[in-house]
Symmetry: C2
């Protein structure tokens, strides 16, 4: 039942990981067609919409970390298990598809990577078809089910990857922890937003589990487990992954408030309108409470409100003036330094260290 | 990483399967606590709400079929692998939890098994807490994430069940097909409802995948695969499961229109108000179109509308008068007969045949 070997080509270098992952994903989606066809009706079209969503883009950050973690722990890109390992790495994109599709419902986001989100796309199909009932509810219902399908298929891809039973046993706890952690992080994100928990600690907890563990720490851990790495390397990877992952999310928080919509594909100031309780916002509030109650009040009234572009601009200026951006940037720099130190002291191959260092720096400096 | 052996007791007879399943599920939920605690915040409370939902009830139909299928294919309830097999069977309840929690959002159902549905429960917590934002959106967001958690945990329970690698390989394709089929069935259900597909064929397709495959055919197939059954027994189980499963859903369709709310725990005539395109309704329309256009028009205007109890009562009477109930009952009887014939001709143990026959008859005759 494993996917036929030889149908994909493992990446020869880090820059070719995304293309190899997309090829593995395409092969996997092809392998699902007999069952979606058997179910029949328009189910195949719906699965096709999920496939288009998954193949449409993203930087394949998680599979790239997992693959590099595997190489750095002694994996051989030319070895006989490389195809199978690549499939496990690619499965991370299906977990991510579930997370994004369901998050877009939760956040009522209209666009993703410059395209309509899945729930918006299906609401649109409902309207164009002149179908009965509520178009938005229909769109959300289909997107809930397609997110579930992505999550179930992620497990299928791991199970059918072709890695041996010993490797399956090694990665089991990592795979399990990763999915529970990201769901926990998403849960805390939603819960913290409505309960208006203003602490930096709550915001950091969400960062840790919604992003850091899920984006870098666990993918690297997965790669290490695939390679059968020792405990010391796993610990070093995890420290690197946690620090760099939190730094990555802090950078994302800055983009959520200051990012260019043309580049990010999300509306300007989205996090402020959404009421996201980020570390950036918590830092701003902490400072305003200490120095200027009027400004703190202004921020509390603004967060999560239906803001005009002018109001967004004023909130941005206040956040900068309070020194919150500088503080977050300093955190990013500190975390990047400690993360890189853990990596440097590890037994990872020199090549992997160089790649991971470059990825960490790129994440910390990205503009989109 | 497998759950410690000896912590659960395999059922000594079919009637004790539900209690054994609940014990296995309780042990599994306990095993998740370290990771939900590590994530922290109120995530443990949310996971507790999922646990309460899963343990609250249900007849454990799917695990009972899987367990009986395993016994019937030579499984030994006193054998060394019985604990591990029971865990795999129990994982079906976690897939079911995801299906129910997400279905309740999709159907906007307020109650389930006499309790508030998860999205309603969390909306209630939001209101009681006086939190910010929309209580209903919050409830749905949390329920989306908890449904995802149930689906991820279902896979964890299978992976950590303790069955050997060969058995894992045997059940992989069954486990995979089952989840894709139920999601396909749910998708078709939603899609057929809004596109108002009136054909008996469309309604039967939904029955087949949303219910028959998922409730009986695949659980039996899973049990057979766990036991390493031969192809002939698997084919017989699948034929039995498909026929009895469709009969079960047809019975459920009757209850959705004629069931007693006190017994079913759902509002009277719920399927008519929800606009469910059941075989029952398709049969009624087919007959009305052939004999009485005015009645057909009455049914089309009523289905999915905000009906009063009186209107529900009038629609019920029309459906009975058209002979649709009798036709559906005849289908149930036919399917039960062919399903039982397939079972009788199989190599399943006599004990299992007797149990499966009794379960089939009970499903076809149940009043709730």
């Amino acid at each position: 039942m494993s996917t036929p070997p030889g149908s994909i080509t493992p990446p020869g270098s880090i820059t070719s990981v995304p293309a190899a992952v997309e090829s593995a994903l395409r092969t996997f989606f092809d392998s699902r067609r007999p069952i979606t066809d058997a179910v029949g009706g328009t189910f195949g079209d719906a699965a096709g919409a999920l496939e288009a969503f998954v193949l449409r883009g993203g930087k394949r950050v998680r599979p790239t970390f997992a693959w590099t973690g595997w190489l750095g722990a002694g994996g051989d890109a030319a070895g006989s298990d490389a195809d199978a390992v690549l499939r496990v790495c690619s499965a991370l994109e299906l977990v991510q598809a579930c997370a994004l599709v369901h998050d877009d419902i939760i956040d009522s986001s209209a666009t993703r990577r410059g395209f309509p989100t899945l729930h918006v796309e299906f609401a649109h199909r409902h309207r164009v078809g002149g179908w009965s009932g509520d178009a938005d509810e229909f769109g959300e219902s289909i997107a809930i089910l397609l997110g579930d399908l992505a999550l179930a298929w992620a497990d299928d891809l791991v199970r059918e990857s072709g890695i041996d039973a010993v490797a399956q046993t090694r990665i089991g706890p990592v795979w399990s922890a990763m999915r529970t952690e990201v769901l926990g992080g998403q849960y805390l994100d939603v819960h913290t937003e409505v309960t208006a928990d203003e602490s930096v600690a709550a915001a950091l907890r969400i960062n840790r589990y919604k992003t850091a563990a899920y984006t870098i720490e666990r993918p690297l851990h997965l790669g290490a487990a695939l390679a059968g790495a020792d405990d010391a390397l796993i610990a070093a990877y995890r420290e690197f992954g946690t620090d760099i992952g939190i730094a990555f999310q802090l950078q994302d928080d800055l983009l959520g408030v200051f990012g260019d919509p043309e580049v990010t594909g999300k509306p300007s100031g989205d996090d402020l309108r959404e009421g996201k309780r980020t570390v950036l916002f918590a830092e701003a509030l902490l400072r305003a409470d200490a120095s200027d109650p009027g400004t703190a009040d202004f921020l509390r009234r603004g967060i999560g409100a239906d803001l005009t572009d002018d109001q967004v601009q004023r909130m941005r200026q206040v956040i900068v003036d309070l020194g919150a951006v500088e503080a977050v940037q300093a955190r990013i720099d500190d975390l990047t330094a400690t993360g890189l130190r853990a990596l440097d002291g590890s037994s990872a191959t020199d090549e992997a260290k160089a790649e991971l260092r470059a990825m960490a720096v790129a994440l910390g400096r990205r503009s989109a």
